[in-house]
Symmetry: C2
Subunit: 190 residues, 2 copies
DNA sequence: ACCTGAACACCGTTCAAGT
DNA sequence: ACCTGAACACCGTTCAAGT
């Protein structure tokens, strides 16, 4: 573990202002919000932004850490309240909703499950994959989920479902239907 | 129908050079290839590019019209050769492969099935949706596909499957597996 | 140790002037 | 009727100078 020195007071202040402004900017303009504009609105030079967050991904991740953590603890909450199969489906639904409705979250969640992505190894990726693994294993132990399904595959498919719902432009109204189609398959019922 | 006046010789020459160069540029740099660079490489002013193709989408569509048409006729070819269910699955597989492997095609195919997108009404959207409809109806008539599934929903889900496969970074190796998971559902077999 | 902001390279889009 | 390319506004990134 690398020992983290405490930041100088002005550095810490800038860091926090940047995070606050960045969250607003991503919410307003989406994941491609202007970095220069974020620095200006936070009242710092653009170099300062780059010092704290070398890449757009880094800033995106820092701005949404708490939301990702919330998704993680939500998984365990659902696991306590519902049977494994239902807990998994409900969590996937909330994951997809966040993917679509929280602007900037999509690219973050996407790179968390991208093979070979450096972001996949960061806090965000670890949290999401951990949560998915616990729910998947419980559902498989119960016999309500294919045993050959890897947690990361399910996360990728959920990202696909979110993408499909996004194309329908219904602010996520189609998520439950598309998740159900994935779960039940495309063959006629019965 | 609006009568199309033939283009002036130099206009036609520029139009064709732009298309050729654009296809190369999209293949090389992806859908965000620099428009300015395309104009330069085609030896025309940037204004000329904008005259012929007012938006990036318009250029993208023009550059890939023939590939889209090929997907359309491929659907009918498969319908003649295979039983309806297999023809549909094979076509979806080829659609997903094109989505991932032909750079620039993804955004085009995406906007073709985006609700409210102007591109959805263009030649590209009509062709793809027509092909999907024919295959879907045949499969439903045979009783191998859910009767409540709309062709456009299936196209959106296929786009989602392509996205999921893209995240796996396997150049499309996962497409067949992910399509199978969608078709068969996530519950244990048997 | 950290911050600033000018400087650079790049891009999309428009439009007055040209043929 | 069509083309050219300068002009404008914008963006990401770096780095010398400052505190």
């Amino acid at each position: 573990m690398t020992q983290v020195r405490p930041m100088r007071a002005d550095a810490r202040r800038n860091y926090e202002r940047l995070l606050k402004v960045a969250a607003e900017a991503f919410a307003e303009h989406g994941e491609n919000a202007s970095l220069d504009d974020i620095a200006k609105r936070a009242g710092v030079g653009s170099g300062t932004l780059y010092r704290h967050f070398p890449t757009r991904q880094a800033l995106l991740e820092a701005a949404y850490v708490d939301r990702i953590e919330a998704l993680g603890s939500r998984a365990d909450e659902l696991a306590r309240e519902l049977p494994p199969g239902e807990a998994l489906m409900e969590w996937l639904n909330e994951l997809c909703v966040a993917t679509i409705q929280v602007r900037g979250m999509k690219s973050l969640l996407g790179s968390a499950v991208t093979d070979g992505s450096s972001a996949a190894l960061t806090a965000c990726g670890t949290t999401v994959k951990g949560a998915a693994s616990r729910l998947v294993e419980a559902a498989q132990a119960e016999g309500v989920l294919r045993a050959d399904l890897e947690p990361i595959e399910l996360l990728r498919l959920a990202h696909g479902v979110a993408t499909a719902s996004e194309l329908a432009n219904g602010q996520g109204r189609e998520i439950r239907r598309y998740l159900a189609l994935l779960t039940e398959g495309l063959r006629p019922a019965g």
